[in-house]
């Protein structure tokens, strides 16, 4: 292996009340793929932000080639050949895809006028989109892209920098298997060209597949490293959380009960003419798989009253219902954990307690006035129950790690008593430990009689957690699978539109 071109030595970063990084060191050599794992809030993103010049460390040194600096700026990082796919999406919705890829590096003409050469811009963008196999064009406005598509665009942006190190902070969190596969090939290709990659993911399989070595962080400290041949699911988990995990699948306490929510020929605005019929049963976790854009999110939104159904009927516990606002659905005990937590799930500028209590304020209020003490106690209980890592419930959710944010979104609904819980990508960006806690929670809810619809693009999760799986293709259900029939192969076949025989 060649001499490392980038070394982080003794990096420490503290925020008021938290030490996000504590004496962390990391070396990057040419052409290696480093996996970076750790629980939510372990400091992975913070470490990468130090590398990317977004965050200045409190102490420590950064060596780039022969130079040593205390901190990098974004420009320094770019100049040092470091490209960054941020965990939280940073795209401009008012520009098109190509403009986003080359923002700050537009091809120019017109001399001092610095006009953007739009043709060249699009031409230069196309290859990066092709290599990722996306289904949109360089001139597609970003506002029209789904989350997964945006994630791919971020990756294209990083690739286009032609840098010697690409940092990918959870690039696959909303991707399905096929895009993930393609990304693995892209990483292999980068490696072959001598480009180094730092790859962060909570989907440990991906690391087994692509990493040359895995660095593990815990509570902001280096806790060890696994060489290529040592990398395994179990080894990583042990290092991350210091113990083994239970099996993924938790069998239900009793067989599924009667139908709670019956969906009869429901049609959404995006997929009219493709009716969906489905029954959510008491005590059952129904997994829902499908490719990007299959219409799962649309269905979930319509069920939760966010969009209205174009056609079809809903029957809740035998009575016909119709929701025109989320409030209606919530009043009937139908809760949605949305896919896009930043936009739809959280008030990022508000505290954990405010977020948890928002849908539930009337329970902690008397005469329209909020009972502070009671409310805080309730938020505190939820924080404990879900193991949300934060100094206190007064911390703003915007400063939490991705996984902890997701737990806050879940905590919101678990203070109330759902009849039906619809989770759209419930563990996006959540670490393995927390994932298993969330699965345990879903199972407990199901055992308590709640009907659960779990939409997920994580194959391992769908297969591992569900009691039954529905697969969607182009807005319609292409088939159901019972537990005995679960396999990646079957799900993929249905997802691309072939039906079961």
């Amino acid at each position: 292996m060649t001499e490392p071109f980038l070394r982080l030595v003794g990096i420490t970063k503290s925020y008021p009340g938290v030490t996000a990084l504590d004496q962390v060191s990391l070396e990057v050599s040419r052409g290696e793929v480093i996996g970076l794992v750790g629980e939510n809030g372990a400091g992975k993103s913070t470490l990468m932000k130090v590398l990317g010049g977004v965050v200045a460390p409190s102490s420590g040194a950064i060596h780039v080639d022969a130079n040593q600096v205390d901190a990098l700026s974004v420009a320094d990082a770019l100049a040092a050949g470091i490209a960054f796919v941020h965990q939280e999406l940073n795209l401009f919705e008012n520009l098109d895809a190509a403009a986003n890829v080359f923002i700050g590096r537009e091809p120019l003409y017109g001399g001092f006028l610095k006009l953007v050469d739009r043709r060249k811009l699009h031409d230069q963008t196309r290859p990066y989109l092709d290599v990722l196999g996306v289904d949109f064009r360089p001139d597609t406005p970003v506002s029209e892209l789904s989350i997964a598509q945006r994630q791919l665009l971020e990756i294209a942006k990083a690739l286009s920098l032609n840098s010697r190190l690409v940092i990918m902070d959870e690039p696959t969190s909303s991707l399905t298997l096929s895009e993930t596969d393609r990304l693995m090939r892209v990483i292999a290709d980068l490696k072959a060209r001598g480009v180094s990659v730092i790859f962060i993911s909570h989907r440990l399989n991906e690391l087994c597949e692509c990493a040359d070595r895995v660095v593990v962080l815990r509570d902001g400290k280096n806790v060890g490293e696994l060489a290529h041949e040592q990398i395994s699911h179990a080894a990583m988990i042990r290092m991350m959380i210091g113990r083994d995990l239970k099996a993924l699948y938790l069998p239900p306490a009793s067989p599924p009960g009667a139908g709670v929510l019956e969906i009869d020929a429901a049609q959404t605005r995006t997929w009219p003419g493709r009716p969906v019929s489905l029954t959510l049963r008491r005590g059952e976790i129904l997994g829902m798989a499908g490719l990007i854009g299959a219409g799962r999110t649309e269905l979930a939104r319509a069920l939760a009253g966010i969009d209205t159904l174009v056609a079809g009927a809903l029957t809740l516990d035998g009575g016909s219902v119709r929701f025109t606002t989320p409030r209606d659905a919530i009043a009937h005990g139908i809760f949605l954990v949305p896919e896009d937590r930043k936009q739809c799930g959280l008030l990022l500028d508000d505290s954990i307690s405010e977020n948890i209590l928002l849908p539930n304020l009337h329970r902690t209020s008397r005469g329209g006035l909020v009972q502070e003490g009671e409310a805080l106690a309730m938020a505190e209980r939820q924080k404990e129950r879900l193991g949300i890592r934060a100094a206190s419930v007064r911390v703003h959710t915007g400063t939490l790690s991705g996984g902890n944010q997701q737990k806050v979104v879940l905590a919101k609904w678990l203070t109330m008593n759902p009849r039906v819980l619809i989770c759209d990508e419930p563990t996006r960006g959540v670490d393995v430990g927390a994932k298993s806690e969330i699965y345990q929670m879903l199972r407990d809810l199901a055992d308590a009689g709640v009907a659960i619809l779990m939409i997920s693009s994580d194959m391992e999760e769908v297969i591992g957690v569900s009691d039954r799986i529905a697969v969607m293709h182009e807005g319609a259900i292409s088939g159901f699978l019972e537990r005995s029939e679960f396999s990646e192969h079957e799900i993929l076949r249905l997802a691309v539109g072939k039906t079961v025989h």
């Binding site: 925020y15 799930g345 500028d349 928002l358």
Partner: protein, 324 residues
Amino acid sequence: MLKKDIGLLILILVVGTVVAIINPLFISPINIANTANLVGLFGIFAIGQAFVIITGGIELSVGSIIALLGVLFVDLMVNHGVPWPVALGLMLVLGALMGLAHGLLITRLKLQPFIVTLCGLLIYRGAARYYTADGTAGFAFGDSFPTLEWLTTGRTFGIPHSMFAFVVIAIVMWVVLHRSVFGRYLFAVGKNEEAARYSGVPTNRVIVASYVICGVLTAISAIFFAMYTRSISPSSHGNFYELYAIAASVLGGFSLRGGEGSIVGVVLGTILLQILQNLVNLLGIPSSLNFAVMGSVILIGVLADTQFAEYRKRKAAAKGAAGS
């Protein structure tokens, strides 16, 4: 009380002390009562504005509403013999209806608050001017409504009743904003309307309610103003008051992006603005400099405040690092 509010309070005290040293009459009971009266008049509609701003909206028609309702109120009583309690009730209803109209246009028809209330600004002022055919609406000499006058412009123990009204409204609104479920919803809508909707907050109703509250408080203000000036020239009455209310809110720590602010802040903002107006007259500064003094003090105050906050933050960070 937030840190921000304390900064503003300090600024008020510093300005007040300096003025009082130069001209001790500044703290004479009569001057304080006069200023308190104006704080009351302006504070009532500034609180209304604050409710709209907290949802991320803006209400530009405040000044015009004050003109229109003032004209109607005086005209109904003076020229149509409507008993004042009826006229007063009617004005409150009208204020609420205007707020309702704005709220519905914004939430149902998805128009931008700036546009809706700008049209309100134009239409209401136009209506007021048309109503009096560009004349002045006012009480004739000797017109007297003793109870109404006592209520609006009277004083008890030397304290103007507008100040009483303001204090009561501020306390009620403090409870509504900072202690009630509705207040939480207002903040939530201002911070992230989408997420609030997903959490079952009736966002549209909350937004409409904020405009209705603003409309009603503005109507109350309009009546106090009408009784204070006793004659209303619809082309100039209340001009720029919307800017004034927005300035009081923003000075008081509100963000025009929504989701931030406190009642204490807007109250202090109003007080500061009134003191600035008062000191120009008290110190005999040429009235042409009125604006310049106001602008400079606000700028210096806000600058001092942010620089001080920066400093505090840096010190806290240094301490945190040392402690860890």
